[in-house]
Symmetry: C2
Subunit: 197 residues, 2 copies
């Protein structure tokens, strides 16, 4: 249920419409926390029903801007300070890496090179963003300060992944256990063992 608190956190900066919030998610937050507009509108409705946000104004084309209420602010602060962090990571690239041994050496090298390029590029984007902030381009409000901290995480994470993908290209492909030794051959599906225990 982090989307709920994500929305509250964004609204703590000031009123915004569902459209605004959806843009922020798709433009900058998308890499660390994806959220499509259907979910956002639905959640805003629920938040309003629960009294955590309220409609601040109705704008030009049906635009509704929401403002966080005191209850909403209390809720997001409570979440930040009292609720356990969920450290779950769901990284498909890492899951795939477990199965690299199923790939041709060529395909694998291509794959890793593409991954390295991808991560390097994202890391670079975050780095530039960080620089602009450090040059004072976005002011020095508490919000942008926190943004700076988040960006730093992006830089470090994606740099680490880029380095990893580079490094992985240098790992020699393990031969499918052929000529290394006489190889006690019959061990016919090692993971099988119908372990009763």
């Amino acid at each position: 249920m982090s989307l709920r608190h994500g929305l509250l956190g964004l609204l703590a900066e000031g009123p915004a419409s569902g459209y605004d919030l959806a843009r922020r998610f798709s433009e900058t937050l998308g890499t660390i926390w994806p959220a499509q507009h259907p979910k956002i509108y639905a959640e805003l409705g629920r938040l309003a029903a629960d009294g955590l946000v309220e409609v601040e104004s109705e704008g030009p084309r049906r635009r509704k801007a929401y403002r966080i209420t005191d209850a909403g602010l209390a809720e997001v602060k409570h979440w930040l300070s009292e609720v356990d962090v969920d450290h779950t990571m769901r990284l498909q690239p890492l899951l795939r890496s477990l199965f690299f041994w199923l790939m041709d050496a060529d395909d694998l090298q291509r794959h890793l090179a593409a991954e390295a390029r991808f991560y390097t590029e994202i890391a670079e984007q975050y780095r530039q963003y960080a620089e602009r902030k450090d040059r004072g381009e976005f002011g020095n409000s508490p919000q942008t300060q926190s943004m700076r901290v988040a960006i730093e995480a992006g830089v470090r994470l994606y740099s680490a992944l880029a380095d990893w993908a580079e490094w992985a290209q240098t790992v020699p492909p393990a031969k499918p256990a052929k000529s290394t030794k006489p190889a006690k051959s019959t061990k016919p599906a090692r993971a099988a063992k119908p372990t009763t225990r």
Copy 2:
């Protein structure tokens, strides 16, 4: 739909039961790709219906071991080489970091210290696992070679996060825009601007 391919990948190493697979997810894979047993049994059923796996043997207590079929192996290889990688990351800790400005300085320091401890510990676990592999404790099969590559990613990712959390503790908390300058005060909810554009 990565669980499907995750299961196929694991079964490519050799036959296993739903219980075995669930344990592998909860013990070692849980950090990078969580999966509970209800999903696993359901997906195994679907995989069997689609002919990508088949029941290899029935063991002691209703135990059913599944074996990957040729079609299943082809499917997972196709996924690895041809299907685009999903780079989506969903990191609650990073989402939270955007809202650090809403926290007391004390709470934030406590939070960051706990985060640093957590990431350091996980990184250390991965590091030890990598060492054991490098000492040859797990042999040198292609599978364990790939495992080694995945572990390396874990080491680097969690080290990066640990360093980040340490670094973040040194970032001075931005004062809520008070005494820094005369401060053109009236700019009443900067994010509001009912942008019609």
